[in-house]
């Protein structure tokens, strides 16, 4: 297919679960209010873990249409994905029963797998012996489990994949999800991811990566693009986008939040800022947007002073002066769910004409490496960029166009 004839991909539905809210509207409002959902870990006793904060999803209720039978066999991260998918499909007004199930696919990111079920399995293994391990251990913990359970529940049978690329897991899912549409594999893609690492063992394992902030003050523990940054705070949740071929969307009269213009991925040394620069330029080129048209960047902002300085330099070289925002400072880093969450907020920022604030920026004054948003500011945004970077050098850049701004 030539570039001129390539299929356009519209985002027609959004579903989210995160620490700030169990649905898109409530979490978007919390983000605009500048509220941080980071706090002391409540789900388990975190004594002795070196990390005491997380952004936890509380009072979560799986959707009513998901049977208790399926919930009993699956992990928390799959429950989040089922909820986000149900929301996104309803939001898109997509009648799955009327669709060809072989033309709908899933592209999800997940980094950690299902730790609730792992903790149970380890107890069974070490305390009761190998024959007593629950029969769902193997299928429920695995990083592809959200894809599998969503596929079963929603009868999705088209080309589908799951991706594990550390913090960029959700970015890689967007990269291949968009290609699945452009390659003509499917007409509709459910693009997103899920993550639920906030268990005692899950947090303990993440501590060993050196990525986690050991801060104890919720408002100062996760400072993206700050010289004082000491790492990230873990979040949990899911985000799912219904991404649809424009012709398919038009045929059923669907309304769109905006257009997924391009996703480009580049890998190289994490210390080499030119790799991200290349990804940014390639994505803008694919999107046919000039750097001057970009109104807002969602940064990776992993909270490491070194990584964030490199990221800020790359962004400023390609997109000088463009405001940068980091919802992760409020919601924690959701790894596989982070890119779709940022894309969702980018689309809402363009819809509502507002730059969302970055939580925690009120307390530390100037000196950040990037022009990070501090308060909510009204601004017309036609093009937004979402950056996702892994620890070892995967860079994924997503470019979004506001509704009616496609070309």
């Amino acid at each position: 297919m030539t570039a001129a004839a390539r299929r356009r991909a519209l985002v027609t539905g959004i579903g989210t679960v995160n620490a700030a809210g169990r649905d898109t509207a409530s979490s978007w409002q919390a983000l605009l209010d500048g509220k941080s959902a980071i706090g002391p870990i409540k789900r388990f006793d975190a004594a002795g873990l070196q990390v005491s904060l997380a952004a936890e999803v509380t009072d979560f209720q799986p959707p009513k249409e998901i049977s208790r039978r399926l919930l009993a066999k699956s992990d928390r991260f799959a429950h989040f994905a089922l909820s986000a998918t149900a929301q996104a499909v309803a939001d898109a007004g997509l009648d799955l029963a009327a669709e060809d199930p072989y033309r709908i696919g899933i592209s999800f990111g997940n980094n950690s797998g299902g730790w609730d079920i792992c903790e149970r399995g380890f107890v069974e293994y070490y305390q009761q012996g190998p024959p007593m391990i629950n029969p769902w251990q193997a299928t429920a913990w695995f990083p592809t489990a959200p894809q599998g359970f969503v596929s079963i529940q929603f009868n999705v049978r088209g080309w589908s994949k799951s991706f594990a690329t550390d913090r960029a897991s959700g970015g890689s899912a967007a990269y291949f999800g968009l290609r699945a549409l452009r390659w003509g594999h499917n007409d509709v893609m459910l693009i997103g991811g899920a993550e639920a690492p906030v268990t005692r063992l899950g947090v303990g394992a993440h501590v060993s990566t050196g990525e986690l902030s050991r801060g104890t003050e919720p408002e100062r523990a996760y400072l993206p693009f700050s010289p004082d940054g000491t790492g990230l705070v873990l979040g949990e949740g899911s985000a799912v986008l219904v991404v649809e071929d424009a012709g398919h969307a038009a045929a059923r009269g669907a309304r769109a939040y905006g257009e997924l213009l391009a996703v480009e991925q580049r890998t190289g040394s994490p210390e080499d800022r030119t790799v991200l620069e290349d990804a940014l330029r390639a994505a803008l080129d694919q999107a046919r947007r000039d750097p001057g048209e970009v109104g807002l960047v969602f940064g990776e902002g992993c909270g490491s002073a070194t990584a964030d300085r490199i990221e800020a330099e790359a962004i400023s070289r390609v997109l000088p002066g463009v405001p940068v925002t980091v919802p992760k400072a409020a919601l924690g880093h959701m790894y596989g769910a982070s890119t779709a969450t940022d894309v969702a907020f980018a689309l809402l920022a363009m819809r509502d004409g507002v730059l969302p604030p970055t939580a925690g920026t009120q307390v530390d004054g100037p000196g950040r490496y990037a022009p990070v948003t501090v308060t909510a500011v009204e601004r017309t945004i036609g093009t937004a960029v979402v950056v996702s970077r892994s620890r070892e050098g995967t860079n994924v850049v997503t470019v979004l166009g506001s509704h009616g701004n496609g070309r």
């Binding site: 049977s67 208790r68 039978r69 399926l70 009993a72 066999k73 007593m132 029969p135």
Partner: protein, 84 residues
């Protein structure tokens, strides 16, 4: 004997409930496969729970016509044999 029967019925009801089976479906005459829609992984989990609770090994059949009542009877027999 009656105590054991009651314990087993109670345990099976709890195990099935944990598996997500609706309370009103739990009945002695319910066929494990056809009525309760239990699959092979459910069968394994029920077997493991019975082992944890009563220290008996019972092969739970979900492919045939075995009812919940049949399973309860089998478990009671196993408990009695293991205690004999």
């Amino acid at each position: 004997m009656e105590q054991t029967e009651g314990d087993v019925q109670q345990a099976l009801a709890e195990i099935l409930s944990e598996l997500g089976v609706e309370q009103e479906a739990i009945d002695d005459s319910a066929v494990l496969g056809a009525d309760l829609e239990l699959d092979s992984t459910d069968a394994v989990e029920i077997g493991l729970e019975l082992k944890r609770r009563f220290s008996v090994s019972v092969k739970v059949q979900v492919k045939g016509s075995e009812t919940l009542g049949d399973l309860a009877k089998l478990v009671v027999e196993e408990i009695q044999q293991s205690g004999a």
